[in-house]
């Protein structure tokens, strides 16, 4: 979309209308105010000196009996002229200082950049006062000083923008084609930085208005007999204490005009962004969960779990049980809902996700009502760098678990942290506890996360893609560690992975998820005999092994998984399934037990016979 329609669109919002109306009023006042009220504002009335605000004089009169309200209206023009003049100087100065480094040689450019950085470091008002001294006290020198005072920050912005555009491919291409520096600036750089600079200018104008008023208020800006809003305030300062209304006129004029400049900036910004802020979607309240019908036997019992985000269901009626000490793996592509299922079990689904389940039990706790107890559930996440707090030492992050949940003292907690770090294979744990996460390697960080889970006595470890962010060799070490930890602690493991090979190495049972649903569940031992769901088969087929024929292309699953919010009729895998029938496309298959320990949701599961048939071929 080009700019004009976007701007028109932005102007139609309440914000845009307000900005347009307010700026029109201000500009009309600036144009007609002095014509209409100029005489009233200058009329000296010795009978009405220093009158309070009232019906005759809205904001009272000044020391010479002049009507303050009229003077505020008349002062609009000078105030606006000076603001715009100073803004012009700021923009021109900023553009020159900002673009020059790109035009001049490297050395001169760096000198200018350094100077600008130096000037930006000074508080603006001090720089303005300095310039006001050099230029002498007076109206136009003040405008000059304020304009130049705002130039460095404009220059900084222009420099940053210019640098980013100068690095783009099309500028590089122009340079290779031998286009001159000056031409590059005029043709390529200036048009591309125009919009952000325009936005910056409107905010700068508001700042300049305030700065100018401040300077005039100090008596260093506009000099009598001229007056702007700041000067009017200056003249009223002695009386303000007696009659606050006398300051309300010029004061509110400054504030309202400043806000209007800001609004113009926002409208320009919105037009730039090309769209109004997205409306927050209202999440439908999840249906209240029916009470659990059967008392389940496992450690973690998930019954008909749903996780919804605005407008779509990410996890769809998932039923899953993890027994004491058992290792269960959930496999699926990204977006299959496997991580959300795990996060829901831990009560950590991010906002605005809504979790509902017929039953969600961990041990003897109803997770619909309570969080899991203390340290009984340990979590290991995908990205160990992001999952550890960068500001705290590793020791602190481990020790606090013991401090909070086991009432351990600081020293005892730290001792346990050291021993746990040692247990997960961190060398020199007593030294490493004092380090922060960035001083560890990726694999070591994941060991720290596991050690964190071992600070208590976990009954379940939920590991969400624990090896995805790691190197292949480190992956194997971390998997081996998880296995060891499980053997030693006797904890159950819920391992989430997109890699069926990883899961089959560590787990007893595999759950395959697709489009937020469980499509198959089977013991790891049965994997070799062949899976029943075509999607599981495709997942296994996509894993290359040592015996894979290198001449055939790597197996991939054709098509793509359904997008969030996409309406699904029938089996969600049907569009990608070679075996799909009409029934698959219209009716959704239910997860049914086909053998003890094996469940599959498919109208036409692959049977052992089919496998033998295929192998025979």
């Amino acid at each position: 979309m080009s700019n004009a329609p976007r701007l028109r669109l932005a102007l139609r919002t309440p914000l845009g209308i307000t900005a347009a109306v307010a700026s029109t009023i201000i500009f009309l006042t600036a144009i007609f105010g002095p014509m209409l009220l100029g005489d009233t504002a200058d009329r000296i009335d010795t009978d009405a000196i220093g009158q309070h605000s009232g019906t005759e004089h809205l904001f009272g009169t000044d020391a010479l009996g002049r009507d303050i309200a009229a003077r505020v209206v008349v002062a609009t023009r000078l105030t606006l002229e000076l603001t715009l003049f100073a803004t012009l100087i700021a923009v021109v100065g900023g553009l020159v200082l900002g673009v020059l480094p790109a035009v001049l040689g490297r050395r001169a450019g760096r000198l200018i950049t350094a100077t600008v950085n130096l000037l930006v470091a000074f508080p603006g008002l001090l720089f303005v006062l300095f310039l006001a001294v050099i230029f002498g006290v007076g109206t136009f020198s003040a405008a000059f000083a304020i304009g130049l005072g705002a130039a460095p920050s404009t220059a900084r912005l222009v420099q940053n923008l210019t640098a980013s555009i100068a690095g783009t491919d099309y500028v590089a291409a122009a340079r290779i084609l031998g286009v001159g520096r000056f031409r590059i600036i005029v043709r390529h750089i200036l048009p591309n930085i125009a919009e952000p600079v325009a936005l910056f200018v409107s905010t700068t104008a508001a700042g300049i208005l305030v700065a100018f008023s401040g300077l005039s208020f100090l008596g260093l800006g506009v000099q009598p007999p001229d007056y702007d809003w700041g000067r009017l305030l200056n003249e009223q300062l002695d009386r303000v204490m007696v009659d606050p209304m006398s300051a309300v006129g010029p004061g509110s004029a400054i504030v309202l005009t400043g806000i209007t400049f800001g609004l113009i900036g926002e409208v320009v910004a919105k037009a730039n962004a090309g769209r109004t802020a997205p409306q927050a979607e209202v999440t439908p309240e999840a249906t209240s969960a029916a009470p659990a019908e059967k008392t389940a036997s496992g450690l973690l019992n998930i019954d008909h779990l749903q996780v919804r985000f605005a407008g779509h269901t990410a996890v769809h009626d998932v039923c899953l049980t993890v027994d004491e000490g058992e290792a269960v793996g959930i496999v699926g592509e990204s977006g299959s809902g496997k991580s959300l299922t795990a996060l829901a079990a831990a009560g950590l689904v991010p906002h605005p996700g809504r979790v509902s389940a017929r039953s969600l039990r961990f041990g003897d706790r109803d997770l619909n009502k309570q969080a899991p107890k203390g340290t009984s559930m340990a979590m290991v996440f995908q990205d160990p760098m992001a999952s550890l707090n960068p500001a705290l030492t590793v020791g602190r992050q481990l020790a606090e678990v013991a401090e909070v949940h086991h009432n351990a003292g600081r020293a005892a907690a730290l001792t346990r942290a050291v021993s746990r770090l040692g247990a997960v294979g961190i060398i020199n744990p007593e030294l490493r506890v004092r380090k922060r996460p960035h001083e560890f390697s990726g694999g070591m960080r994941q060991r720290v996360m596991i050690a964190m889970g071992l600070m208590g006595e976990p009954r379940l470890i939920i590991a969400d893609e624990p090896t995805t962010a790691l190197d292949v060799t480190v992956q194997a070490q971390v998997l081996a560690l998880l296995r060891d930890v499980r053997t030693e602690s006797g904890a159950a493991l819920l391992l989430i992975s997109h890699d069926i090979a990883v899961v089959s190495q560590v787990c007893d049972r595999v759950v395959v998820m697709y489009a937020g649903r469980i499509v198959e569940e089977l013991p790891v031992g049965d994997l070799a005999d062949g899976v029943a769901h075509p999607y599981s088969a495709a997942l296994i087929g996509a894993v290359p092994s040592m015996t894979t024929d290198r001449d055939t292309p790597l197996a991939t699953i054709p098509g793509r998984p359904p997008q969030p919010g996409e309406e699904i009729v029938g089996c969600p895998f049907a569009p990608r399934c070679a075996r799909a029938t009409d029934r698959c496309r219209t009716e959704e298959p239910v997860l049914e037990q086909i053998r003890p320990g094996r469940r599959v949701a498919c109208w036409d599961p692959i049977t052992t016979a089919t496998h033998e048939l295929e192998e025979a071929r």
């Binding site: 000074f122 303000v240 204490m241």
Partner: protein, 329 residues
Amino acid sequence: MSTATPAGRVLDFRLGPWTSFFVRRTGRLLVSLAALVTAAFAMIHFVPGDPVRGALGLNATPEAVAARKEQLGLDDSLISQYKHFVSGLFHGDLGESITARVPVSRMIGDRLPATLEIAIYAFLLVMLVAIPLGMAMAVWTRNGRRRRGELAFASSTGAIVAIPEFLLAVGLASVFGVSLGWFPVALREGPDSYVLPVLALAITPIAALSRIVRVEALRVFETDYMRTARAKRLPGRLVYLRHALPNLLTSSLTLGGLLLSGLLAGTVLIENVFAWPGLGMTIVQAILQKDYPLVQGIVLVYGAAALTINFVVDLAVAAADPQSTIRGS
């Protein structure tokens, strides 16, 4: 920035990142101070017309002007004047005020504490109020809760930020000073007299900083390490204070530093509203009276203070978050 330069890399290699960072920042501070001193020196020579004539008035006799010029050393060559000026600085000699006829250093010594006091109190007030307020608002409105509270906070702080500090000061003076008569509105006499100037200095930065802290806090709440903290079932107090707060402080400190040097500038306006006998009031009078040596001295003090604050903030941020700051800069 400088790490990218070959010199920066060599420094990193020889001294280790921390020392190298410190050396580079100190170097930048010294260069900036030198530039400031030169600019302050040059200021007097940029002034249109004859500064001594301007200060003494049109009625001064040519002899008096000449004598004064000689006394100020304005007839010497520029280079020897500059040398004189710089060596004077090292001895704490900033020249003599043209109007008051007392050493500038003594005037600054008299007035500086008043300015420092309100600036520091205001800064402490800002940090003590804005960070907890922003945090509390973030916790309160997290995950899209209490949209009305969020709107009220955003619009009220937005309105405060839009009001210029000196107007706020005038408003405070007329409401709490005149109408209610709770606090004195002028001069520095007794603890009561600090209330309004400090408030006037602090309110705008409090509004600005608490908005930023809230947004930063909401960003931090979304991070993976906050999810880890929740996964550890820590009490909310620990999750927010121990895990979120330190990660907020880096950005808050950076902004706090900018605010502090902004506060210094703010004193100029605020002091003039409350007739506060500090540097801000003195510099405005000095500019109006064309007392250039005094202006020069105060500009030096304000400028050096701003540069020092930036330097200290850089170091503090680096200490709080060594990884990103030192490597990134």
